[in-house]
């Protein structure tokens, strides 16, 4: 008696596995899809090879002057030569270590905040938020401990962009939280004031705000008192941004169930303690991704200070491209600036998405 021997399984049809199947499913599933694929391929062929040719293969990488750019493609020599200006503006070359040190301090100081298991993160974060701006200002501006003073008019480049964006968000956060609380307040006078404030700043473009802070702020102040240009721009940015932060935080406050408010009241907590200990910690956690997105918007908006004559990254590039020694380098300059902005914004948006997933601690049922 012999047992039946099964034949080995036939391999699946070639059409349904591997590359071929993938291609059939994703690129050529119908005649319309095939057409679209061909169209997309044509677009890629139209854009990518010339772009690579220009930016890499035909590009000029070494040299010191415009005359060294002999090949057809991009002249990256321009970026190399002006790199310092793009990063630091007119900050004195021999003092640029102070800017670098400030950046390193920020990186090292903020690193523990990104480690999930770091103990007492909130306390540490608060200390860092208070101490760091003071240290950073002392380092950047100088004037103490025998450091040469570098007036803000010499600040520039990416450094200035980062300074405005950071100060903007750090200043706007507390103001925005207060405004959001005010908007949800049951006191009509407070509510009206906050709603008007928020809707006003959200309704006007940042440019007009910067115009206002540069031409109207001096008129508002008592005689003889004057701010420097950077500070005025920062005040404008903070007021403008706080309205947006307020709306983000309001979203978080609305998402907290009423039971939490009632529970806090039942515990005998007053308004401020209920908010500070129960509501805000939950609400702020919910809106961290929203705040990061607001920060991205602010980071892009800092480029507008060009209008009031501050030399941020974009304006440095614009200035350098207008230099007679480097005429015709606008494309390279703007592409470089775009790349820098893109890296920052893309990085932050990915981080925000990551946070969203991480903070989604599963209240879903």
């Amino acid at each position: 008696m012999s047992t039946h021997v099964f034949k080995p399984d036939m391999p699946p049809p070639v059409k349904t596995v591997g590359v071929v199947a993938w291609l059939r499913a994703n690129l050529f599933s119908s005649w319309l899809n095939t057409l679209l694929t061909l169209f997309a391929l044509y677009l890629v062929w139209l854009i990518v090879p010339p772009l690579l040719q220009w930016s890499i293969f035909d590009a000029n990488w070494v040299g010191t002057t415009r005359a060294d750019c002999t090949k057809e493609g991009a002249c990256w020599v321009f970026i190399q030569q002006r790199f310092g200006q793009f990063m630091y503006g007119y900050y004195p070359t021999e003092l640029r270590w102070r800017v670098d040190l400030t950046v390193w301090l920020a990186v090292i100081g903020a690193a523990p905040l990104f480690i999930s298991r770091f103990p007492r993160k909130a306390v540490y974060g608060l200390c860092f938020l208070v101490a760091y701006p003071i240290i950073a200002y002392t380092l950047l501006h100088g004037g103490h401990f025998g450091m040469t003073t570098v007036p803000t008019s010499q600040w520039g480049g990416l450094m200035l962009t980062l300074v405005i964006a950071t100060v903007g968000i750090v200043g706007a956060l507390p103001l925005g939280i207060l405004l959001a609380l005010g908007r949800r307040s049951k006191m009509p006078a407070v509510k009206v004031v906050c709603v008007t404030f928020i809707e006003f700043w959200r309704g006007v473009p940042l440019i007009t705000v910067l115009f206002m802070s540069s031409v109207m702020l001096p008129l508002f102040l008592p005689e003889g008192m004057s701010f420097d240009k950077l500070l005025r721009a920062m005040i404008g940015v903070i007021l403008f941004q706080s309205a947006y932060i307020a709306e983000v935080v309001r979203g978080g406050l609305q998402a907290i169930p009423k039971g939490q408010y009632e529970a806090a009241a039942a515990m005998g907590l007053g308004y401020w303690r209920a908010m500070g200990l129960v509501i805000l910690p939950q609400a702020l956690k919910l809106v961290i991704p929203g705040i990061v997105n607001t920060f991205i918007a602010l980071f892009k908006d800092t480029s507008l200070v060009i209008i009031i004559g501050l030399f941020d990254l974009l304006n440095s590039v614009k200035q350098a491209a207008a230099d007679p020694k480097w005429l015709g380098m606008a494309t390279e300059g703007y592409v470089f600036a775009a790349l820098v902005f893109w890296i920052f914004c893309f990085g932050m948006s990915r981080y925000s998405m990551h946070l969203e997933r991480k903070l989604d601690t599963g209240h879903k049922r």
């Binding site: 690129l27 679209l36 004031v193 031409v215 892009k300 507008l304 703007y334 592409v335």
Partner: protein, 389 residues
Amino acid sequence: MHNPPRGLSLSDPRVRAWLFQILTIIFVVGLGWYLFHNTQTNLQHRGITSGFDFLERSAGFGIAQHLIPYTESDSYARVFVIGLLNTLLVTFIGIVLATLLGFIIGVARLSPNWMINKLATVYVETFRNIPPLLQILFWYFAVFLTLPGPRGSININDTFFISNRGLNMPGASAAEGFWPFAVAVLLAIAAVVFMVRWANRRFEATGEPFHKFWAALGLLLVIPGLSVLLFGNPLSWELPELKGFNFAGGWVLIPELLALTLALTIYTAAFIAEIVRSGIRSVSHGQTEAARSLGLREGPTLRKVIIPQAMRVIIPPLTSQYLNLAKNSSLAAGIGYPEMVSLFAGTVLNQTGQAIEVIAITMSVYLAISISISLLMNWYNKRIALIER
């Protein structure tokens, strides 16, 4: 329960609320008065008289693009109107183009086709992460200004010319058949409205479908077409011609306008694409299945089931993108396109020194634009909102 009578005490929350509000009002009014007082003193010391009289004075400078007739001797008030019209022009073109492009890219991001999907993703991720001002400067300084001059311009069929002076194209002016044509178009639109109403009523009553789209297309083509046959061409076209160093005749879109609309369209479209994508994805797949099981084909499923539901999710964020576009049009100040900010808050402010009045007018214009767009979109949103029974 009754409240025991008691005097004013700080431990009473109502008293505290009143006190707090009174303090707030005092603070706001006080701040306002303080700023007002400072401004008055400062203005007096600088010898600036406040008021809106300056609007009557003659401006005395040229403007590159004006939609209404303008000469240098015209008043600042007219300059304001020109700036406003130019802002509205950019906003309008930008909204239309960005919506079209955004919807296409948004749908492409949902495409099952891998290539199309990835291309759309790359588009969105690239352009929404680059500041709009940078994009405007790029298109202006690195693209449009580096194009050849009018003599070496890119010639498309002898009708369109692209050079560093902008886009020259045929200009239209009213010919003898213009008014009959306009009347015919209005008639056609009225006919379409009546036809759609009739078709809808019949559909409700009997369930018989009617080819509304084709009928409307037919009406819109035939009635104006008849007018052209009977009364002649409504418009006469004038081609741009190279004369000396520049083009004469026809219409021209200045490079500032091109750079601005292009950059704003591309930037805003990236955001609209994301809104459209999330809107369509928010409609659960069960809806598609339900529609299919009712026997609807692919087209009607999309038109009558998916899109109406997706629109409810899409409209509110779309509104804020439109508002952003209107506000971003002010970035034109970076390249000197003559709109509200660069023309009025820039040139006029510098010439007259009336900082407060000029900035106040500019800000109120943007507030007015913002409020009208949001009112319009809120009205539309209410109309299409889910009415639950």
